[in-house]
């Protein structure tokens, strides 16, 4: 909302208040002032009368003038084509500061020039506010301009505009009158608004019939003014409109615009001769093409509120009138329309048409139900005073006039309890007086009458807000809540998530956060298949149409971004939700690792991010959460996704629950073509979180020496070392402390289809010293099992 200080001054005394003070007071009362703008920043201007104007002896376009500026007569060389003797003009005196230049006495082609005669552009008036004639030359002031006077004051350019950002509950302040009342309350000073209540009550019997066949129009007022005289508006109206960037057209059109600025209520004036039927009906079931006031043709569809007379369309309700009934220079009488329209209808239609007119913007706000009546009163009063309104007919009314005011009882106790303050009944009563809530003290309580324009006030806390914003938040003493103690902190799942983050950053991984909304290609290829993606009904773009169903595709694109920016070493993880229909949610962890990470260039040391490293990370994370190798299983990745190398990836299980996939990315992927072999993983954290980990139990350090046995085996390629190790544990029982692979070899010396595996078994007893013979027997049992179940051959 723009606030003209000059306009505001016509309602209240502001002589002791600078714009900066006003800004601070409004902002701290909830009307945030975002900017202060001066009409024209120029200084050193005066009004002059051109006494003589002769051609410059040495130029074919310059003129030499003498200008009376009251105190003296100046010689000024002027280049404007329209300068002439007898004109009242704007003179920039020696030393004047204009937006573009500082004026100094000078000699122009041999002729003395003691100032400058200015155009509006030169003093800083925006081109959009000027006519073509004004843009083409110097500004010629009207005859009554006082010589030696201030041209900015004369033109209304000495104004200061405050740009106020209003909260949605105070949409009443989008109009001058309620805004002035609000400022009066904030500053605690009287506000005098024009009194025109009941002005529309005059008029003889009317032939006009107004009605609505649509739900979205609760009130429609129409009034015939049989005769008006079109002429220029009085100066104050021109200036008022000007301060809001509205160009003056003629008195009648200007009044319509002025009333909207004053009351916030859009009005529409029709040429009465264009509506001979004297019947106006609002409908919402029409489909047709229609040419509006701006000369463009728009399509209306059922649902749009349309103004009609008989079979004829005469306007998009609340948005724009029609071209064929607008006020022209030939107009001799008018029909006034003042109506309320449903904001949702107006928003829908104006958005579809791309027509955000001033009226449409006003209608999209919450409006006070009584505004149409107030606006009609004001229109009639102004038309009587400035447009010689005659042949006035009574107002035709559709809808029931709402009763305006709400009564509320309150006391200081409620507010002090909510705010934590110590205000007296007198103090809060004074706030309500300032707000014009007409407080009447009744014993220990006060009765308030809430004006209809304050539709935001209905319950006690609304009043608390009024009290604290006018008396100031500094009256609140800071305390901390005193409550029954309850345990706070993170939930167990949240603690596990934070633990995982710490473990991964400890492994050297960088956390990233990607957008959750993705395009179709991400959805077509999930890390594993779970169901349909959640799709937006109103996406901003195809790029962001679906909520992601896996996190890995996002991480791959993050990795591609790094490659594009010449960073070929990365180790990234992301934790985020995935969704799939119907309303299923999983929290996921995804990891991606570049093929290696340099540790020391000169030592040629690097981390090799091969399959076994990503496997190690996954095992490490699970182990940190209490799931050791006896519960975590890496199995063949049978659910072949787009992402993983079929022979270098594993499906991960915790007991029998599927947790996700890890391994090397598929060689066909673009990222692998660019960056080489990459390790990656995606895990279902929700499943991990819901699994129960075993508690830590201390076991004494063994007091007896252990025994080791190494086995060198040949087994078929198809047999897995993991299964073989498990078989050793199972067969060996609790004496097998550890069984691990210490060599894997294929190639020369090993038959085709076989692999050579070296395994070290560590035997340990916690009860006695092991006897070699006993271990030999046990080892043989293990070997027999391996020979039987794994077709293992012992190498010698």
């Amino acid at each position: 909302m723009q606030l003209s200080i000059n306009w505001l001054k016509s309602y209240m005394d502001l002589s002791d208040i600078t714009p900066a003070i006003l800004r601070d007071k409004l902002t701290s009362a909830g009307l945030e002032v975002e900017r202060i703008e001066q009409g024209s920043p120029a200084t050193g201007l005066t009004i002059g009368l051109v006494l003589t104007c002769n051609p410059h002896p040495d130029s074919d376009h310059l003129k030499c003038t003498t200008v009376d500026v009251g105190s003296t007569v100046l010689s000024i060389v002027c280049g404007a084509p329209n300068v002439a003797a007898g004109q009242k003009v704007i003179v920039a005196m020696d030393g004047a500061v204009l937006p573009q230049i500082v004026i100094k006495k000078s000699v122009i082609r041999g002729q003395q020039s003691e100032g400058m005669i200015c155009s509006l552009s030169e003093i800083g008036v925006d081109a959009s506010m000027q006519s073509e004639a004004q843009l083409a030359g110097i500004e010629v002031l009207s005859k009554d301009a006082p010589i030696g006077g201030d041209p900015l004051a004369f033109l209304g350019l000495d104004d200061t505009i405050l740009e106020i950002s209003l909260t949605p509950n105070r949409s009443d302040c989008y109009a001058m009158w309620p805004l002035a009342k609000e400022i009066g309350a904030i500053l605690d000073r009287p506000v005098t608004l024009p009194d025109c209540e009941g002005a529309a009550d005059i008029g003889g019997p009317t032939s006009l019939k107004v009605a609505s066949e649509a739900k979205g129009c609760p009130t429609f007022l129409g009034k015939v003014i049989g005769s008006v005289t079109l002429k220029p508006s009085p100066d104050w109206i021109v200036k008022a409109l000007h301060s809001y960037g509205v160009k003056s057209i003629n008195n009648v059109v200007d009044i319509s615009n002025l009333v909207m600025l004053e009351t916030g209520q859009p009005t529409h004036f029709y040429d009465k001769d264009k509506i001979p039927l004297r019947q106006i009906t609002v409908k919402d079931n029409i489909a047709a093409d229609y040419t509006a006031l701006d000369g463009n043709t728009y399509s209306c569809t059922p649902g749009d509120l349309m103004i009609t007379t008989g079979d004829k369309l005469i306007g998009f309700a609340g948005i724009m009138g029609g071209d064929d009934s607008k006020i022209l220079d030939t107009t001799t009488g008018i029909i006034i329309e003042v109506a309320s329209f449903d904001r949702v209808h107006i928003r829908r239609t104006s958005r579809r048409l791309g027509l955000q007119t001033e009226a449409a913007v006003h209608y999209q706000r919450v409006m006070e139900p009584l505004t149409p009546y107030k606006a009609m009163d004001r229109c009639v009063a102004l038309l009587l005073q400035y447009a010689d309104a005659k042949e006035i007919e009574a107002t035709a009314i559709y809808g029931i006039k709402p009763s305006g005011e709400l009564k509320l009882l309150t006391d200081e106790k409620f507010h002090n309890k909510l705010l934590g303050t110590n205000f007296s009944l007198e103090e809060i009563t004074d706030v309500f007086r300032r707000l014009d809530f007409k407080p009447v003290v009744k014993g220990s309580q006060v009765e308030l009458t809430i004006p209809s324009y304050r539709s935001d006030i209905s319950i006690q806390p609304d009043l608390s807000e009024e009290i604290i914003r006018l008396l100031g938040f500094e009256n609140i003493t800071s305390t901390l809540p005193v409550l029954v103690s309850k345990e706070g902190g993170l939930s167990l799942d949240q603690k596990k998530r934070e633990k995982i983050k710490d473990v991964l950053t400890g492994y050297g991984l960088q956390e990233v956060i990607n957008y959750s909304l993705v395009n179709r290609s991400f959805i077509n290829h999930p890390t594993w298949e779970l169901g349909e993606a959640v799709e937006l009904a109103n996406p901003l773009s195809e790029e962001r149409r679906y909520y992601r169903t896996s996190v890995l595709p996002s991480l791959i694109s993050t990795a591609l971004y790094q490659l594009d920016h010449y960073q070929d070493e990365f180790a990234l993880f992301e934790i985020g939700d995935v969704y799939y229909e119907p309303m299923e949610k999983q929290e996921r962890l995804s990891i991606i690792l570049s093929s290696n990470v340099d540790l020391s260039l000169w030592q040629k040391a690097a981390l090799q991010n091969d399959f076994y490293r990503i496997k190690g990370m996954v095992a490490g994370v699970l182990s940190e959460l209490g799931f050791g190798q006896n519960r975590v299983f890496f199995k063949e990745n049978i659910e072949q996704s787009e992402y993983f190398h079929p022979g270098q990836s594993a499906a991960i299980y915790l007991d029998k629950t599927f947790l996700g996939v890890c391994g090397m990315l598929h060689p066909k992927l673009e990222i692998v073509k660019q960056a080489g072999a990459l390790g990656a993983a995606e895990l279902d954290l929700s499943a991990i979180f819901s699994a129960k980990a075993s508690a830590i139990r201390y076991q004494p350090i063994p007091r007896y020496p252990g025994i080791q046995r190494d086995l060198a085996l040949l087994i078929p390629q198809s047999q897995s070392a993991g299964a073989l190790i498990n078989a050793i544990y199972k067969t060996g029982g609790k004496l097998v402390e550890k069984a691990e692979v210490f060599d894997l070899y294929t190639g020369k010396g090993v038959p085709d289809g076989q692999k050579s595996l070296a395994i070290r078994i560590s035997y340990q007893s916690y009860e006695k010293t092991l006897v070699e013979a006993e271990i030999d027997v046990l080892t043989n049992t293990i070997i027999e099992r391996l020979q039987r179940d794994f077709q293992a051959q012992i190498r010698s």
């Binding site: 706000r365 608390s464 029954v484 309303m583």
Partner: protein, 344 residues
């Protein structure tokens, strides 16, 4: 008669010429070994008269002790020399680059979230999360924003269908908490999470962002409690000398509502480019929970009151670290992320 002096002199010379450990071992055998020179002298004892033996033995033992010590000293000297040589040989150019220990880091938004969580956990708040694909009911209706309310315009929403949408604010978590804990008061929670609004991405807008909201409901909760809590928050996040200022504002969820500004941590309140000359920086919205919101959750608003506040995590990260463009926080450029690398 044995010439003790000559014997000692001869072996003394031999000892002094030793330079290598192998020579020393050889000399040790020749002199002190079973068949060495000293043993030879001992052998001569048999041929002596008994009364001469004691004096002779004393001389021989004296020489044995002397040379045993001498050889041990030489041995240590040689060892020391060898050690010095190997240390000299093993000296490194310690100015050469170290082996990099890969370091991982949290995303700056996670860092800010953790810091805020820690502040509130220390005051006994629970941390509660909720779904991002949310029901209209919890995101709007229960937050006091019915279908045709203008406040919905402020929050352009991504809809999935008639009932479901992407959460536009973490207030949706609060309305769930209110419902779930209406019979288990007081409530003292912070609710962090991602939100989505139908905004075009630019330097200051993002269709995805994160918030953390706080909610306290109990008997006798006042706006003073809110102010005190926000003051503490401002000090922990932006420095102990910070103060806050409340300004009236409007949120559907709260009444009265207030915007909280923190005194500018760049200029201390004198006015600078960060605070646009005002000395204050807007950090969050807050207010007293609207009685209708309590009632909708089944909480008696005549008995209980509460406060709520909500801060944008990206905004706080941007203010704290001087990040100009919110899109940096989602581009995940490693050169950008590498900045957020140390204890604060």
């Amino acid at each position: 008669m044995q010439d003790w002096q000559a014997f000692k002199q001869q072996w003394e010379t031999a000892c002094d010429s030793i330079a290598e450990r192998s020579d020393l071992e050889k000399l040790k055998v020749e002199l002190l070994g079973k068949k060495g020179a000293i043993a030879g002298l001992m052998g001569q004892m048999r041929d002596l008269e008994p009364q001469e033996r004691a004096a002779f033995g004393k001389e021989v033992n004296g020489l044995k002790d002397y040379f045993t010590n001498k050889i041990e000293t030489i041995s240590q000297a040689l060892e020391n020399k060898q050690l010095q040589a190997s240390l000299a040989e093993g000296s490194l150019d310690i100015s050469m680059p170290y082996t990099r220990i890969p370091r991982g880091r949290l995303h700056p938004v996670s860092i800010v979230r953790r810091q805020l969580e820690e502040v509130f956990i220390s005051m006994g708040y629970q941390v509660v999360e909720g779904p991002e694909v949310e029901l209209d009911l919890y995101n709007f209706e229960r937050a006091g924003i019915p279908a045709d309310h203008p406040a919905r315009d402020m929050q352009d929403t991504f809809f999935v269908d008639v009932q479901r949408l992407l959460r536009t604010h973490t207030t949706a978590i609060q309305t769930r908490v209110l419902e779930a804990q209406s019979n288990n008061l007081p409530i003292k929670v912070v609710c962090p999470g991602k939100d989505y609004r139908r905004d075009d991405d630019d330097a200051t807008h993002s269709h995805q962002f994160s918030q953390m909201e706080g909610l306290v409901v109990g008997e006798g909760i006042t706006m003073g409690d809110l102010k005190g809590t926000l003051e503490l928050l401002a000090k922990r996040m932006f420095g102990e000398s910070r103060t806050i200022r409340l300004r009236p504002s409007y949120f559907q969820f709260t009444e009265p509502s207030a915007e909280a500004d923190v005194s500018c941590f760049a200029c201390g309140g004198k006015g600078c480019s960060l605070c646009k000359g005002s000395g204050w920086i807007e950090i969050l919205g807050s207010g007293m929970v609207h009685p209708n919101v309590l009632e909708m959750a089944g909480i008696d608003s005549s008995k209980y009151s509460g406060f709520a506040f909500g801060a944008g995590l990206e905004r706080i990260a941007m203010l704290k670290y001087g990040i100009e463009d919110i899109r940096n926080l989602f581009a995940n450029d490693l050169r950008f992320l590498a900045h957020f690398n140390r204890f604060e």
